[in-house]
Symmetry: C2
């Protein structure tokens, strides 16, 4: 890739380099910049902000065109962004994008999300970063809404930026375009995944457990959350920060302060 004056955009995902959602994202932004994709060699959903420490990373270039290079690695989305920034990009990218994830990353799902791990790693490095997700796990999901309105959001951010130390978690609902209501900047809804492990017996008599679960929305109808927006046919944008301090609790915990 020759050095150009076009924006340099680093792209990752957590569904793997072959995922349809990644291809949609690349096609969407390709007219507007030079694109370097570093994506996992296999689907690695649920990897959160995990990094690979004990195993060395292998980088394989799988495609190169005029303004697009695609690499796959044996790592997580955060590994992809780290090695992308440190080894594969000719300069600091103008933006880091992650997705388009096959499945929602709204509410507390953000904490488990490899897609958002990748985006947050970009943000930590001072780069405007966005995670895109579509609320469907289907590999044949209809990405037309994201293509159209995701592009509008992308172009706005490319022009106007994002507040410093902030990253965007953008989710699109599954709905027909005629029913789509627009885009809402929201807060993260309160919620939790309630697990139910399925206990099974293998052919040799051993016991094993499969993780299953369902999302439990803990909100009471507030209209300012991502869950509300998505349930009402809006795309949700939650600004996310990487300072996890609960400032409200610092004073409440003052009994734990002591000097010797």
């Amino acid at each position: 890739m020759n050095r150009s004056n076009r924006p340099l955009i680093l792209v990752t995902n957590d569904d793997g380099y072959f995922a349809p959602g990644l291809k949609v994202l690349i096609d969407m932004i390709k007219p507007y910049g030079d694109i370097i994709v570093v994506a996992p060699e296999q689907g690695v959903s649920g990897m959160s902000h995990a990094i690979t420490i004990k195993v060395p990373l292998r980088v394989v270039k799988i495609n190169e065109e005029e303004n697009l290079i695609i690499y796959k690695i044996n790592g997580t989305p955060v590994d992809c962004v780290k090695i992308g920034l440190n080894q594969l990009c000719p300069r600091k990218p103008d933006m880091v994008l992650s997705g388009i994830n096959h499945g929602s990353n709204s509410s507390i799902s953000i904490i488990y999300s490899g897609t958002m791990g990748g985006a947050l790693e970009g943000c930590l490095n001072g780069i405007p970063s966005i995670g895109f997700s579509l609320c469907s796990h289907s590999m044949n999901a209809d990405f037309n809404l994201v293509k159209k309105y995701g592009l509008t959001i992308f172009l706005d951010i490319l022009k106007n930026g994002i507040p410093d130390k902030t990253c965007l978690n953008i989710n699109f609902p599954i709905t027909k375009e005629k029913d789509f209501k627009g885009v809402k900047v929201c807060r993260q809804a309160k919620g939790v995944w309630k697990e139910e492990y399925e206990k099974r017996t293998d052919p040799h008599g051993g016991t094993y457990y499969w993780l299953t679960g369902s999302f439990n929305n803990q909100e009471n109808g507030s209209t300012d959350t991502d869950e509300w927006a998505l349930a009402n046919n809006y795309a949700s944008i939650v600004p996310v920060k990487t300072d996890f301090t609960d400032f409200d609790s610092i004073a409440l915990l003052s009994n734990l302060n002591y000097e010797l």
Copy 2:
């Protein structure tokens, strides 16, 4: 384990069930409750809030005494807490503890930390939860400070609780007891890990990369951060929340709101 009126405490870590830091934690709290340990079968540092989706979990009981059961599983710290709560605990625990980690989890290291992943998962389930870390990776590190002052903190929390939806990230410095200054409730210091991948060639001519890095403290001498506390021989307690919304940015991003 018979049902008792003693507090039930679920314990995990990310260094594996055999780690000295875990043993110190168990010994520290054993006089005060019934303990169920669910720990990874191997060290899984850097796993953040990752969950195991594609591989079934195997649970192996490796020790049972009157008020202590120890299980190992082929999963992450978050898996340990999930399967502990859903399958292995006879009732909802009164507390979830994670650690004692061999190595610091201060500042932005929290985002990569499996130790804190385990603690945050307890918090998400409405249980007072604490991650303990010691700022040394040595397997022979001196845990005496944590044994003494960690116990004080543990007993305080057992009695007084933690604000709802808040989890504690507690780090102990490496210092002699005579130089130890006390305990400070802090905010998370601004910082970032700057990566340097080492590029090497394997015996067959293939290229691989090892992750290395160094922590870059982005603070300017503020005395209210965990990094300051640890550098000045205090133990740091950072209250952490699971709502990652950057509320300050919601208004700043209002240009992205639109209705169709």
